[in-house]
């Protein structure tokens, strides 16, 4: 539905190629962007300054530019270990959510059986339980499973809590695959599982990618759960690391800023690569 309107819009634009629109819109957009990016720029630029520069003039530009802070963070092993931990947690969470979510959504979308509606409602009800509410007992569950201080103890609950969103986004995608394709595949002797692998997976790829990205960013940024589960510094993910670093080196403001700046780069790169997919996915989630 969105695709067709977008297509129409492009057609309209093609008819009037040069159309700059209202200057007010540009002014407002420019102000907004400055407001949005100024804090980010402050963090990145201040990382290039020395502590004495920051003390004498907190809002100045670097002069001379000092790359020692960034080098110290990049050559130390703390930052890279935490990037590694975050990466493991995010990749494993994403893989788990996508695989389990896709399997469950496939059944919920395309099998007819008693209790299907109830099953879907149960997963959807999961949206009502944000992790904040369940965190204390969740911590006890993880502790009793002996998964404290291990990334697995973070990954498994994250998968479980990402399932409702994933299923709600994927089910409409899978339901939209025309029945004719399925019937034809069965006629050709494909089993339902064979159909799943050969037809469903490629056709639902856009939805799968969207849910994957949402799960990845969610895991990359997650704070509360790692805060409860990971107490040993060697298992810290990046968010915990940033907080630990900023309290440990609270006097060395410049280095904290450099560490903070570096830790937002992976998410920013990831986001700018997949921006279209994220926005598209949210569109899908809102508009159905």
């Amino acid at each position: 539905m969105t695709a067709t309107t977008a297509g129409k819009r492009e057609a309209v634009e093609a008819r009037n190629p040069i159309q700059w629109g209202n200057p007010v819109a540009y002014v407002v957009a420019a102000i907004t962007i400055v407001l949005m990016l100024a804090p980010v720029a402050f963090i990145i630029l201040s990382g290039f300054r020395t502590n004495s520069q920051i003390t004498t003039d907190p809002a100045g530009l670097p002069g001379p530019w000092e790359i020692g802070n960034y080098l110290a963070v990049l050559t130390g092993d703390i930052f890279w270990r935490e990037v590694g931990n975050s990466l493991i947690a995010a990749v494993a969470t994403t893989a788990g959510v996508v695989i389990l979510g896709l399997m469950a959504s496939y059944v919920l979308a395309r099998y007819k059986f008693k209790g299907r509606g109830a099953l879907y409602a149960l997963f959807a009800a999961g949206l009502m339980f944000p992790m904040t509410v369940a965190i204390t007992p969740l911590y006890i569950v993880v502790k009793n499973l002996g998964l404290m201080n291990s990334l697995v103890g973070v990954i498994l609950p994250q998968i479980a809590f990402a399932l409702p969103t994933t299923i709600i986004i994927l089910v409409p995608f899978l339901r939209a695959i025309p029945d004719e394709i399925q019937e034809a595949a069965f006629m050709d002797g494909a089993s339902r599982l064979g159909f799943f692998w050969r037809m469903v997976l490629p056709l639902s790829l856009p939805g799968v990618i969207t849910t994957g990205i949402l799960a990845f960013i969610g895991s990359w940024n997650s704070y509360l759960l790692p805060l409860f589960i990971l107490n040993d510094e060697s298992t810290f993910t990046l968010p915990l690391g940033v907080q630990a670093f900023s309290s440990q080196y609270s006097v060395d403001t410049a280095r904290v800023l450099a560490f903070t700046a570096l830790s937002m780069i992976p998410a920013l790169i990831f986001f700018s690569v997949f921006e279209r997919r994220i926005v598209g996915g949210l569109t899908g989630a809102v508009k159905g």
């Binding site: 819109a25 389990l100 509410v133 498994l156 006629m187 494909a190």
Partner: protein, 336 residues
């Protein structure tokens, strides 16, 4: 059957569809019974793992929270000291909790009032033909993608008494406006609102833009031909049609405000947040539960937090979302 299955990789659809022309014949009944049994096994195997994870890590902890909440329990072994509703009475009578609840209320209202109009305005502007539109969208969304911890740490350094903002104000000759942005209880909640708005307004803009794209352009074109101004078109056509998206956004924003934890805990911490007037229910829960080693009590707070969210959600559903619940969360129905 297996032989033919292996022959399937045959992409052209027309081929498959042609074969489907003679489809409608039913398979003989013994095979159907077997297929039924197989179907059930498939359902179990496909939904089973997701359901197991979901029950173990979402439903079970939520149920246990309700159970633990009736005990005085330090988190070791099986809770034995049953205290009935005492935890709940203590929570509701604790002025610290009442303050936190009030802060959550303020955050809910101010989030809607600050982010809503700003996001609508931006989305309407960005929905017009604009050079570099996709770049602008990406940049507005940047704060939303950065983790709460990074945002919190960065803003702490900007807003501390000798931080970037005060330095900037002095530099441009507005030294009289420097403040203790974080610790002064009369402005700390506004500082929090500023950071929340900065972080989350991009999400609202993206949602609204998505909603705006679902509105057929013919409507505003027709109105423009009839002589309606841009502003009239937005007010009479676009905004009413954006209603479902606005209501869903408001719902997500309210629930998020009630559960707010990360930003406050990182910037203010559990002690400063209560003196600066920015503590929330979730902060109260972690402070008096896990950090105090009082797990029974912490679970009771979790239950209270959940029930408040649930009641708010149900009221909202009943009175606001009723018209368009179908379209939104379920992804079904009349989404336009």
């Amino acid at each position: 059957m297996t032989v033919r299955e292996s022959a399937v990789p045959r992409p052209p659809q027309s081929d498959l569809l042609a074969a489907g022309g003679s489809a409608a014949t039913l398979p003989p009944s013994p095979r159907k019974a077997r297929a039924d049994w197989r179907g059930r096994l498939e359902i179990a195997l496909m939904v089973g793992p997701a359901m197991a994870m979901f029950l173990a890590f979402v439903i079970f902890p939520v149920v246990m929270a309700a159970y633990y909440g009736f005990f005085s329990w330090q988190g070791f072994g099986i809770p034995t000291q049953f205290v009935g509703f005492r935890n709940y009475i203590t929570i509701l009578q604790d002025p610290t909790f009442q303050e936190a609840l009030a802060h959550n209320g303020i955050i809910v209202v101010l989030s809607l009032l600050l982010q809503g109009p700003a996001a609508i305005l931006l989305a309407l502007l960005l929905n017009r033909k604009l050079r570099g539109q996709s770049l602008i969208r990406v940049l507005i969304f940047v704060p939303y993608v950065i983790s709460e911890v990074v945002v919190g740490t960065g803003w702490t350094l900007i807003l501390s008494t000798n931080g970037g903002l005060n330095g900037f104000l002095e530099k441009i000759g507005l030294g009289a406006f420097t403040q203790d942005w974080l610790a002064d209880p009369s402005i700390a909640i506004w500082t929090l609102m500023l950071i929340i708005t900065w972080k989350y307004v991009g999400f609202a803009v993206i949602l609204f833009l998505a909603g705006l794209q679902g509105i057929p352009e013919e409507l505003s074109e027709a109105a423009a031909i009839d002589g309606a101004s841009w502003w009239q078109i937005q007010r009479r056509i676009t905004l009413p049609l954006l209603g479902p998206t606005l209501r869903i956004w408001a719902f997500l924003s309210i629930i998020g405000s009630l559960q707010l934890f990360d930003l406050v805990y990182i910037i203010w911490g559990q002690y400063v947040s209560s003196t600066a007037g920015t503590s929330t229910m979730a902060i109260y829960m972690v402070t008096n539960g896990r950090n105090a080693g009082n797990y029974g009590y912490g679970n009771a707070v979790a239950v209270v937090l959940f029930l408040i969210s649930l009641v708010v959600a149900l009221i909202y559903q009943r009175f606001v979302l009723r018209r368009d619940t179908e379209g939104a969360l379920t992804g079904e129905g009349k989404s336009r």
